[in-house]
């Protein structure tokens, strides 16, 4: 788990499947307003793709380093979500009333769409970073010199 998986089949399949999982997460995120899904599920799917990344390639590999970097984003999702609410306040409405999202050139449905999409991106980022943080804490808590967070 701490170094690269030695099976070439696992590595090749992961190279194929991890981007697919991430693409599916993006699809769920952006399509969540019209079908099942949304920010929460998209964030978890992205988390599982990242877990698969460092399970297969190890934390030392470039991909694993990228997963570690994600940990620095703790709280950014919450800031995005609250920031959307704040923008609605600035626009003259209630907190999180997307109709008051004053973006020039957007009509009412597009404002709602943008507001909900940004809020869902916030949820997805928050869930993804939290999931990867919990898994890394559980998996590597006894070997803290192996990684620097």
């Amino acid at each position: 788990m701490k170094q690269m998986h030695d099976s070439i089949i696992v590595q090749a399949m992961s190279r194929l499947l991890i981007p697919l999982a991430q693409l599916f997460a993006l699809y769920v995120l952006f399509f969540g307003q019209y079908g099942p899904g949304g920010g929460f599920v998209a964030g978890v799917i992205w988390t599982t793709s990242m877990i698969l990344t460092f399970l297969v390639f190890g934390l030392k590999s470039p991909q694993g380093r990228l997963v570690e970097k994600v940990l620095h984003g703790d709280g950014i999702g919450l800031i995005i979500f609250v920031g959307v609410g704040g923008l609605c306040l600035i626009g003259g409405g209630e907190f999180l009333n997307y109709a008051n999202l004053e973006i020039p050139g957007l009509d009412a449905p597009a404002r709602r769409y943008t507001g909900i999409l940004l809020a869902q991106i916030g949820v997805a980022v928050d869930v993804a970073v939290t999931g990867i943080s919990i898994v890394l804490s559980l998996a590597y808590h006894d070997t803290e010199q192996e990684y620097d967070v």
Binding site: P36, F81, Y98, V135
Partner: protein
């Protein structure tokens, strides 16, 4: 008639998975049976028409939950060390079936599934179904309820998840790392 067969089948799957979770001694197998249990449960949700809940159950319960259990298992013994478990107390053996019988009796008073006159279907659901597009201009009712009518709810949920992550990092990571 077909519905009752479906319910019996899905209940059987759920019951099998739940009992196997208690009967299997090896913890690794228990984790995987727990994951399959989540998949069965998500089937039940999907069959009931709650596609969003089914999606979340499959992804969280069967995906992330299994991973979390597995990662925890790497730090513990793979087998249940209490090889001679104490026999269950007599009160439990006799009382739990009685309790289940009482619950089944009480379940008879629940409204029929899909009954249009049941309280959940006449109280607030019609309001959302009729007004959500005019109010929120979002075609998906679930999204409009989750992210618009009750956006505060979702915001606080996100705060809870964030707090859970911070608490896990504080408790599990060694100081100074």
């Amino acid at each position: 008639m077909m519905y009752s067969v479906n319910i019996a089948l899905l209940l059987l799957l759920v019951l099998t998975a739940a009992s196997a979770t208690f009967l299997v001694k090896e913890l690794m197998s228990s984790v995987f049976i727990l994951g399959s249990y989540s998949f069965f449960l998500s089937l039940v949700w999907a069959w009931l028409g709650a596609v969003d809940v089914a999606f979340v159950e499959a992804v969280i319960g069967a995906g992330l939950g299994t991973v979390l259990f597995l990662v925890t298992l790497f730090d513990t013994a793979p087998k249940d060390s209490r090889l001679r478990r104490p026999p269950p107390p007599l009160a439990g053996v006799l009382g739990l079936p009685l309790l289940g019988l009482l619950l089944l009796l009480a379940a008879n008073d629940l409204p029929q599934f899909g009954d249009p006159t049941s309280p959940p279907n006449v109280h607030i659901s019609p309001v959302y179904l009729q007004n959500s597009y005019a109010d929120t201009l979002t075609p998906n009712v679930v999204t409009s309820v989750l992210m618009d009518y009750r956006a505060f709810d979702t915001l606080i949920e996100t705060v809870v998840i964030f707090t859970a992550g911070i608490a896990c990092a504080l408790l599990l990571r060694e100081p100074g790392s």
